[in-house]
């Protein structure tokens, strides 16, 4: 069968052949040929991850190391604080934190994880943004840091209540890690970077592994009957139930961290009156949002009916008439809730829990209510 041009140019992760051999249904995603689902299907894959353990290939994401030229990791941390509104200096060795690269307008260029490995910082960024992120880092941090693009590494997520037991067989230290611990560990004799984190709301791990060892390690994990391979379809429904943002949908260059309800991710030290207040792109606008509030806010939405309300659906205050007051940025069916779930932006005065709203779907106004997130209780090991 001839391969269409748009598939020829797609990149492959080190686990591509394994996905195909496991029956993965491959689709283009962020320039990569990725499995959207396996033969089990999105629903079973989602529920299996919440009941046992799911294994995800997230090797399309960008992995970078920032090595301080001074040899002191605090200097790399201080340098990175010029680009993010988070307190990076306070990340203890062996710990990880969620962050955002902001722009001069206070918008979000990308969201990322930052880990302190003691001698360097380790960053995981979104696939679609990774080239731009690397250029951004080189443009602003090259005087202070050596920026290594770790393109020769795969990234595997192991998520769910049985993830710890599955990984413990290959990595004795895994059970002693707690949520957001991160550092170099041997897994099945391979030098990996392991963090206790993920994108599902479940306890679990992300494992950065050299590309050459990725398939062998993944096959070893999949030998455990509790562990099933999970595609991007269930990854999306799991993160949606967990209330986690998808970059380019729920957050982007036009949303500030405050509008996105990510205040929890901005430590007091970087806010007005803090030790190192401001000093990141868009600080004026973002700190004004902290101090005086933003006019709109990302909220969770639960539908009264069974019809999924999807991305792009306009939101209205009333059952008929009026102008849209906002829109849905992510939405679909939540398999664990057996009900539709969505998130979107609404005026702050309509963002209180329980506020009744309507989403227009196929010409009909469907009733919704603003609901607390996460929709499914997270099970992080604190």
């Amino acid at each position: 069968m001839p391969v269409p041009d748009d598939q020829k140019s797609l990149r492959q992760t080190p686990l591509h052949a394994l996905h195909v051999s496991l029956g993965g249904k491959m689709v283009p995603f962020a320039g990569y040929d990725m499995p959207v689902q396996y033969p089990a299907g999105v629903l079973k894959e989602h529920l299996h991850t919440r009941a046992a353990a799911g294994l995800f290939d997230v090797s399309h994401m960008g992995q970078l190391a920032l090595r301080p030229k001074s040899g002191k990791v605090e200097d790399a941390a201080r340098a990175l604080e010029r680009l993010v509104p988070q307190d990076i200096v306070a990340i203890a060795p062996g710990r990880q934190r969620y962050a955002q690269f902001t722009n001069a307008d206070g918008g979000i260029l990308d969201d990322l994880m930052v880990a302190n490995f003691g001698d360097r910082l380790f960053l995981v960024v979104n696939a679609a943004c990774k080239e731009a992120d690397e250029a951004h880092l080189r443009a602003h941090l090259a005087d202070d840091c050596v920026i290594d693009s770790l393109a020769d590494r795969a990234l595997i997520a192991l998520q769910g209540p049985k993830a710890e037991a599955a990984l413990a067989k290959l990595c004795a230290e895994a059970p002693s890690m707690t949520f957001m611990d991160a550092g170099p560990h041997e897994v099945a004799g391979v030098k990996c970077f392991v963090s206790r984190s993920g994108y599902t709301g479940e306890d679990g791990f992300e494992i950065s592994v050299p590309a050459a060892d990725a398939e062998r390690l993944t096959r070893t994990l999949l030998e455990n009957p509790d562990v099933l391979p999970i595609g991007l379809g269930a990854r999306d429904s799991l993160r949606l139930e967990a209330g986690l943002c998808l970059y380019g949908h729920d957050i982007d260059t036009a949303t500030t961290p405050v509008e996105a309800a990510l205040e929890w991710s901005v430590q007091k030290s970087r806010r007005s009156g803090g030790l190192r207040a401001g000093g990141f792109p868009g600080a004026e606008k973002i700190l004004a949002h902290f101090d005086s509030g933003a006019s709109r806010r990302r909220v969770g939405l639960r539908a009264e009916g069974r019809a999924p309300v999807r991305e792009g659906a306009p939101l209205f205050a009333d059952a008929a008439g009026g102008e849209p007051i906002g829109k849905v940025t992510s939405g679909g069916f939540g398999p664990s809730l057996n009900a539709p779930v969505a998130m979107g932006y609404v005026p702050t005065n309509l963002s209180a829990l329980g506020t009744k709203l309507f989403a227009e779907v196929r010409g009909q106004r469907l009733p919704l209510a603003v609901a607390a997130m996460p929709f499914v209780k997270n099970t992080y090991k604190r």
Binding site: G41, L43, H46, R306, P308, G332, F333
Partner: protein, 122 residues
Amino acid sequence: MTTTLYTSDHEWLAIDGDTATVGITDYAQQQLGDVVFVELPKVGRSLKKAEAAAVVESVKAASDVYAPVTGEVLEANEALAAEPALVNSDAQGAAWFFKIKMADKSELGSLMDEAAYKAHTA
């Protein structure tokens, strides 16, 4: 006796006199994946051939089901509203979507028989 015909958009029609029972094919349900919601046309609605008549949603996406012929909706399968997963388990049986009283049986001429549909999806 009934004859089953198929559209290129993966609907099936079981023809019995002037009445056609319409659903989506087994091939279509496999492509959609787990069905979580079905929206059916109201009884009495007049449908034009190729008009969006019903909606079937998987976890991933929503897809339209088109009216394969012109006519009036006689009955909708309310069992699907309660149990959308029937579409995955019995697409060409219990998971019929609606019955339509055909206005112009000559429209059937453009549809495929089973052998042609098999070739279409091969």
